[in-house]
């Protein structure tokens, strides 16, 4: 749900590495098309298959998983390491810590002096970054293919030898950088505090997703060098990481390099059990208001749904698109196109490892009340719940979904990150075709069923309002 990075490049804030880009195949004849009176779109589409990604996966004796994918199209290589720890593994009172720690991984290690991590990579033509979500932390470099040994050298040194080079001065500097990141993403951004307000209402106290990845200022202030050392010793070990190499390299040489650089890093102690929170439910509709320095109010609806890659994840993702992707989507067409009472609408299913949410956001146009928006949103949802969706609506989403898969395979970085995501969430990197097939398999009945199953349940409704306009909040007819 939240993703926060070391620098702004490659950042997809508030999207997941594998999210609504998952794409499906569909071949069908659509009677609805005839009504358009335009002949250029064929009645059936030739299937555009999602290619299989050829991968090799193995594990070093110290537990490090390695995934290799050769693609010699461009003479570059993408190295991507996922550590299986995220903000969901943080302790209450130390929110934001996993991400603060991520920043410290770039500050040098025993054999790499402070600042040299970036200096060496840039001198070799490389770019790098990292990001943190609730569930995992990743680190990656894209380099000309001759520089693969450099990336492995730097990544192995910080995996095996980070602590000797760490001191409180580095923690203090990156703590302040991260506080500025929080200001830039949250505190100095209109509607920026909406997400954390919703999380704290949706999830019970102590739930791993009840705080934002970026954390609170107070908890960032509280983080100590000792916390950093303990976190490293607990989570940053080869047996809690997966290294993916994608792009222009030779697998045999790469395996030798991986063995040389990572083979001598000792396996870490057994990992602590990860949180296994109970399924989240909202007992009754919860209405909240947040005053902010904004010109226009915005209404956020959030329902607890399902984890990523579970049965209803794909139908809910399709439902989100049917509601808010494109001019013909239900909410967009009614609120933005026909009645022009809203400036924008968004909807998404966001499944993570431990839980998922379905969210709808609407910003009313000037002079339009959130209450009116609310009534229109409820009517549109009721229509889908009662009558389901059309074949054409399903086809549009499935066809667009399938094309977006191709876009996600265009770069070595994105491909490597996708392989790591599949490996982490479903246990195998070789999953892109099965992922695409999930969307293929969605039926109109599925979409109607998930709308009824999840969106008729109690939800959290937050209205962000201009300061002094608390009375604008949506509060009303709850079940």
């Amino acid at each position: 749900m939240l993703m926060t990075s070391r620098t702004t490049s490659h950042t997809t804030f508030r999207t997941r590495p594998i999210s609504r880009t998952a794409r499906a195949i569909i071949t069908l004849a659509s009677p609805a098309l005839l009504a358009l009176g335009v002949s250029v779109v064929p009645l059936s589409l030739p299937a555009q298959s999602v290619p299989r990604i050829k991968v090799e996966k193995y594990t070093l004796p110290n537990g490090l998983e390695v995934i290799l994918h050769e693609d010699h199209t461009t003479p570059i290589v993408a190295v991507n390491t996922w550590y299986h720890v995220g903000s969901g593994d943080e302790k209450v009172g130390r929110t934001g810590f996993a991400h603060l720690f991520e920043h410290l991984m770039f500050m040098g290690s025993q054999h790499v002096p402070t600042g040299q991590f970036d200096q060496m990579l840039e001198a070799a033509g490389g770019n790098n970054n990292g990001s943190t979500t609730e569930d995992r932390t990743n680190y990656y470099e894209t380099l000309p293919s001759n520089a693969l040994p450099l990336a492995l050298y730097l990544d192995s040194d910080r995996m095996g030898y980070l602590l000797p080079a760490l001191d409180s001065a580095k923690v203090d500097i990156q703590r302040d950088v991260v506080k500025n990141e929080r200001r830039q993403r949250v505190d100095n951004v209109p509607y920026g505090r909406a997400e954390e307000t919703i999380l704290s209402a949706l999830y019970p106290n102590g739930h791993p997703y009840s705080w934002p990845v970026i954390g609170s200022m107070a908890d960032l202030s509280a983080a100590s060098l000792n916390d950093v050392k303990n976190f490293f010793r607990t989570y940053y070990a080869p047996n809690n990481a997966t290294l993916t190499i994608a792009g222009d390299f030779n697998s045999d040489s790469a395996k030798a390099l991986v063995e040389q650089y990572f083979g001598d890093i000792p396996r870490g102690p057994a990992l602590p059990p990860r949180p296994q929170p109970a399924v989240v439910t909202v007992p009754r509709d919860t209405f909240m208001v947040l005053q902010d320095k904004v010109q226009l109010p915005r209404v956020y609806y959030t329902w607890p749904t399902v984890k990523s890659f579970t049965k209803d994840d794909a139908p809910l993702t399709v439902l989100a698109s049917v509601l808010a992707d494109g001019k013909n989507s239900r909410l967009y067409k009614k609120l933005v196109y026909d009645l022009q009472v809203a400036q924008d609408v968004n909807a998404f299913q966001n499944g993570s490892r431990l839980a998922g949410v379905f969210q709808i956001l609407v910003t009313p146009r000037p002079g339009q009340s959130p209450a009116k928006i609310d009534s229109l949103v409820r009517t549109e949802l009721a229509n889908v719940e009662r009558d389901g969706i059309t074949a054409r609506e399903l086809a549009r989403v499935q066809n667009s979904t399938r094309s977006s898969f191709l876009a996600q395979l265009a770069s070595d970085y994105a491909t490597g990150d996708l392989l790591n995501a599949y490996n982490y969430f479903v246990g195998t990197p070789d999953y892109v075709q099965q992922d695409a097939a999930r969307y293929d398999a969605v039926t109109r009945a599925d979409v109607q069923r998930v709308a009824r199953t999840y969106l008729e349940k109690p939800k959290v409704v937050l209205t962000v309002v201009p300061e002094g306009k608390a009375s604008m909040m949506v509060a009303g007819v709850s079940k």
Binding site: R23, V38, V41, P149, R175, A395, A410
Partner: protein, 493 residues
Amino acid sequence: MNNALLSREGVKRGAMALTLTSAVSLAATLAIPSALLAQVDRDKPPVLGPPPQLNLPPVAVRQLPNGLRLMVIERHKLPVADFVLLVPAGATANPANGAGVAGLAAQMLTEGTTTRSALQIADQMAYLGVRLDANSGWDATTVALSTPTAQLDSALALFADVALHPSFPATEFARNKQERLTSLLQIKDRGPAIADRVFPAIVYGTDNPYGRPASGTEQSVGAMTVADPAAFYKAHFIPNSATMVVVGDVTPAEIEKKVGALFGAWAKGTVNPVTVTTPATLPPTAIYLVNKPDAAQSSFRLGGVGVQRATPDYFPLQVMNTALGGSFTSRLNQDLREAKAYTYGASSRFDMRKFAGPFTARAEIVSAKSDSALIDFMQQLRAIRDTMPTAELMKTKRYVELELPSAFETTGDIAQRLADVALYGLPLDYYNHFVDNIDAVTQRDVQRVAQKYIDPAHIAIVIVGDSKTIEAPLRATNVAPVTTRDIQGTPVQ
């Protein structure tokens, strides 16, 4: 490097390769047999082999009888193709009182054609699974299509229809106009967006096209009618100044045939060139403060008039700016972020356009450190005019040279490079010589362009932040006089 990445048609495919090897390349050694590396010495970073060659198929150039130029690069990794139709007129071609027209003209292309309604266009885009959108920049308006090749014919027909037969429906325009006015209203919420608007207004003045917001103002958009974007389209969408860039799983012959069938009847017109006269120098350095009450950060934009894309100083400027604020290890980012932690990131950029676009250094600074950051920014702008240490120069040149292949990774990346070649009239073999040209940059060149284009005594410093906490400390720095402006950049009494 002898090669032609972007070569003319007829050049044998693959015969000319961009070789990213250079005089400053890392020590070239043979790959070391793996057995010898078994005991890795972590005190020494690995010695890298020679940088790889970037071999791209040549660009095939064709011209339709109506003058439309085609530039095609084959890329068969995935069953997709990217098309960019580029018309060399953007926001600078807006009428003097019509800021925002070009952008709305682009937006209106997908709002209805002579045979398709806005909803039908949207329906077909989603049904075909294609991305189709039109955008307007400073110098050009583009219509871009990204499609799986399985849907190529249908997608191209839709693409040609929105590009050639837009009908500018008045009702759709009215909706787009209200949407634009609302988004202009929402700028008030965001300090960084206010700074991005005020900075060019100060540097160029609002009498200059580069000083007026490309997205328009409440006044200019408010006064607009559907006739304005329609007139923009009519004046500038002509084949004899346009270029179609195509990259993907296609062949030039196939593209020439398909594009010729769809765009061949597009009638020629009169080219309406645009000229922008940019101010020679700015007045003495001054701080323009815009109040954003209670802002957690101050949005800094410092700089002035930069340089046009066609400058002979392009390569020295690339090196100089990369060292100043164009990479993570650049001086501004290292100082303001990694050493002082005043910000999440600081950077600088020469926005090179057809005419001299701005040079801008920027950062979002924690409010309490606004004064310290101002002093540091000024120090860095002065220091870059000194001789650049050799090690820094070498590192920067390597970075610029060696990261080039990643700019040619996806079909979208390559299409963007080609669109720049077309728009700015770069030679087709431009990228063949890119590495050589960077390599040739000397310490003296870097210092010369720094002194020529960065003059700390004549820059505009726009700071959008919480006046009640930052104004007094900013004044106390005595860096420059402080005047206050509103969110349009107009003086506040």
